[in-house]
């Protein structure tokens, strides 16, 4: 299937899986490469290590245009290669760039002269300029900012809002092949220098975090003065300076890893270059405080008073809905804080892992609430919103709901005799 127009994707983690599929969905022939054991083989068989709405459907429709391979030499036939390995972070949200650098070396060694190499992985400012210096002069390097959103990644990759492309020099234009590829997605393309593109991604995330932090701050005050944040949000969305898609829903801090990584990068840059980044420290501290809202609410409701009598049902382990990712998940923060208590957990996709002997995992939400003294809804999975008061009344020992995201109908459950706690009211 390889031809002169085959687009290469190297590194098949979340980013590579989704973007290679988007390329196929837009009609391109794709060579998706990853030489880690079993990765290409599993993907070729339709076994995805990630969960994204629409991914399996897209595979059914478009897999004929994708060749998954562990053979790096095949990349030599691709004039345009995207490097799409996700960069993992440690507990302090620092990036581990070594696997990415190793992959780039592998790709650049086999890429044909004049190949256009497009880096999409999450790299800190300065990375691309340094990389361009050490790559063979026959390769042209670009940096395409990824704005993957877990749980909505396929949709955003197939129908992007815009492309931000980092270039060595902005006045030399994009190569024809790359330009033609981007044009197929029918959205604005914003060329900029490498450093701007690298910082652009961080800038987007900083604005998201500031919205989240502001919303959480005001939502908490709402709860204390008798206001309701959900009544205020529509007014904010109608304000052009804020907008209909702003991150205004209160939540349990930032999680998932990417936002945290970018905040750590800003702090590092500010320290290195002498800028005032105390606001970033404030966001981080605020996020930790927001994450622990559930713990404080459990205390205020008296659930923690007697460890031997508490049996807490916990719905949702993932850090957000429609993903199996648990990186920095608030659910795990609660579990780690309360090993003396008995938990009954359920999540449609995420796994509990090891180290939680005090947590029993169930295969349905209603099984998990059986005999519980409180129900925590830690991830706003849609399926939870279908549960009725009657179903919970029949199973729970105490009618206490801690529902930060308002998955359930507050009025309905309050009127049905539940003690109901949520963010923002």
């Amino acid at each position: 299937m390889s031809d002169a127009n085959t687009i290469g994707f190297a590194g098949l983690s979340h980013l590579g899986i989704v973007y290679s599929m988007a390329a196929a969905a837009r009609g391109f022939s794709v060579l998706a490469f990853d030489e880690r054991l079993g990765v290409a083989e599993g993907l070729a068989a339709g076994r995805f290590p990630i969960s994204e709405p629409g991914l399996e459907d897209a595979f059914v429709k478009h897999h004929v245009r994708i060749k998954y391979s562990a053979d790096a030499s095949l990349l030599s036939g691709c004039p345009l290669i995207f490097v799409t390995l996700d960069v993992s972070t440690d507990d302090a949200n620092n990036s581990d760039l070594a696997p990415l650098e190793s992959l780039i070396d592998r790709v650049s060694a086999v890429a044909a002269p004049e190949t256009v190499l497009v880096l999409m992985s999450q790299v800190p400012p300065g990375f691309c300029r340094r990389l361009a210096c050490r790559l063979p002069a026959s390769l042209r390097l670009f940096y395409q900012v990824e704005t993957l959103v877990f749980g909505n990644a396929v949709e955003r990759a197939v129908r992007p809002e815009r492309y931000m492309v980092g270039c060595a020099e902005t006045d030399s234009g994009l190569p024809t092949l790359y330009r033609r590829y981007l044009k197929a997605f029918d959205c604005p393309v914003l060329p900029m220098r490498y450093e701007s593109a690298e910082l652009c991604k961080i800038a987007i995330n900083c604005f998201l975090v500031s919205s989240v932090s502001t919303s959480n701050t005001l939502a908490e005050i709402c709860g204390k003065i008798g206001a309701d944040w959900s009544e205020i949000v529509p007014a904010l969305r109608l304000d052009r300076r804020i907008g209909p898609h702003a991150y205004l829903n209160p939540g349990l801090g930032i999680a998932g890893g990417n936002l945290e990584r970018d905040l750590a990068t800003v702090q590092r840059l500010a320290a290195e270059y002498g800028s005032d980044a105390r606001i970033v420290t404030g966001w981080q501290e605020k996020s930790r405080y927001d994450r622990d809202w559930t713990l404080r609410t459990l205390h205020h409701t008296g659930v923690l008073a007697s460890p031997s009598h508490a049996s807490v049902a916990l719905w949702g382990l993932a850090y957000k809905a429609d993903t199996a990712s648990t990186k920095n998940s608030p659910a795990f923060a609660v579990l780690r804080a309360l090993p003396q208590y008995k938990f009954r957990a359920y999540d449609p996709q995420a796994k509990i892992g090891t180290g939680f002997p005090f947590v029993d995992v169930y295969t349905s939400a209603l099984e998990a609430v059986q005999g519980s003294t409180a129900l925590l809804i830690m991830t706003p999975w849609k399926e939870f919103s279908n549960v009725t008061p009657r179903e919970l009344i029949a199973r729970m020992a105490s009618l206490r709901l801690i529902d930060p995201y308002r998955v359930l109908d507050r009025n309905l459950f309050s009127e049905s005799g539940f003690e109901y706690h949520c963010l923002g009211a």
Binding site: Y289, D292, L295, R296, L298, H299, G302, L304, A305, S306, P307, A337, L338, Q340, Y341
Partner: protein, 302 residues
């Protein structure tokens, strides 16, 4: 943030309580007795920590397996001046010298929420210790001195920073619940600065002792704010005192001299350390205090 050396409660072989006669120390003695914990209380009459000889004296008493609870301090009513500050530091200097000679199993240092800045904010254990008050400075420096000595001697150190402690038996007369109860009983009135709008976290002395006991049995190390997590205005406290007394009390307002500052605490670290701890409600605590102070008055103790 506290880290427990013992996940399951383990009774220390003996507790040495430094400062035995203060408000909190008295409560600690009660708590230890009720819990049947072996302890040795040492007051300043027996060993004066300000005196350099105290190191030798304590070296004769303290054993390797002991847990030390340090409540000794010259409180603000003894002086908010450089001389008192130096004496307070001298006490810890002598104690640090003791640790160099005779390490022990665990130390709990009772500090103060005075280490934090007085501006309005939500305070947590990792909030900056930026006090402008010389008594607060004393505790900041004492904490650092002890931390250094404990690190050197490999002794786990828990720093407990209580908020505004109240309860019957309080020997101080600072602005707040105890003064309100006393003046209400004695004069039938409570005097507020301004409208008493400032909010503070008032913790019952028994709760502070309870938290210290928990730190002891878990051999905890780190910092813990001994607070309830609920701040009340002085006006609300005055009204609750009045309600507890069950008779009309005049609440008088004096012209305000300073700006209004509030003090709230984030108790997340405490919830992680001791999730099942439940603080006494202010209503319960004040009712007990009213009853205790009234009984003491009848017995001519105050």
């Amino acid at each position: 943030m506290l880290v427990h050396r013992f996940e399951s409660p383990t009774v220390p072989s003996r507790i040495v309580l430094l400062g035995s006669n203060g408000f909190l120390a008295s409560q600690l003695r009660c708590t230890f007795e009720v819990a049947r914990l072996a302890y040795r209380a040492i007051g300043s009459k027996e060993v004066d920590l300000i005196d350099g000889a105290s190191t030798d004296q304590l070296a004769q008493i303290v054993r390797f397996e002991d847990a030390l609870v340090v409540t000794s301090a010259l409180t603000p009513e003894k002086g908010r001046d450089p001389a008192t500050l130096i004496k307070n530091l001298r006490m810890i200097e002598n104690l640090a010298m003791l640790l160099g000679r005779q390490p022990c199993a665990h130390i709990i240092y009772v500090s103060s929420d005075g280490v934090y800045a007085s501006r309005s904010s939500l305070i947590a254990e990792d909030s900056p210790c930026e006090t402008g008050d010389i008594y607060g400075v004393a505790h900041v420096v004492r904490e650092k001195m002890l931390l250094q000595a404990c690190q050197k001697a490999d002794v786990p150190l828990a720093i407990v920073r209580p908020g505004a402690i109240y309860g019957s038996g309080d020997t101080h007369n600072s602005y707040g619940p105890n003064r309100f109860v006393r003046t209400a009983l004695k004069d039938g009135k409570i005097v507020l600065f301004g409208g008493g709008e400032e909010r503070r976290d008032h913790i019952h002395v028994r709760d502070v002792a309870n938290l210290i006991q928990r730190c002891l049995v878990h051999r905890s190390a780190g910092v813990l704010n001994a607070v309830t997590g609920k701040a009340w205005s002085f006006r609300a406290v005055a009204e609750k005192v009045t309600a507890a007394l069950g008779c009309p009390i005049l609440i008088q307002e004096l012209p305000r001299t300073g700006t209004i500052t509030h003090r709230h605490f984030d108790i997340t670290a405490r919830l992680r350390a001791f999730p099942d701890f439940q603080a006494t409600t202010l209503e319960e605590g004040l009712a007990e205090t009213v009853s205790g102070v009234a009984n003491a008055r009848e017995e001519g103790l105050t």
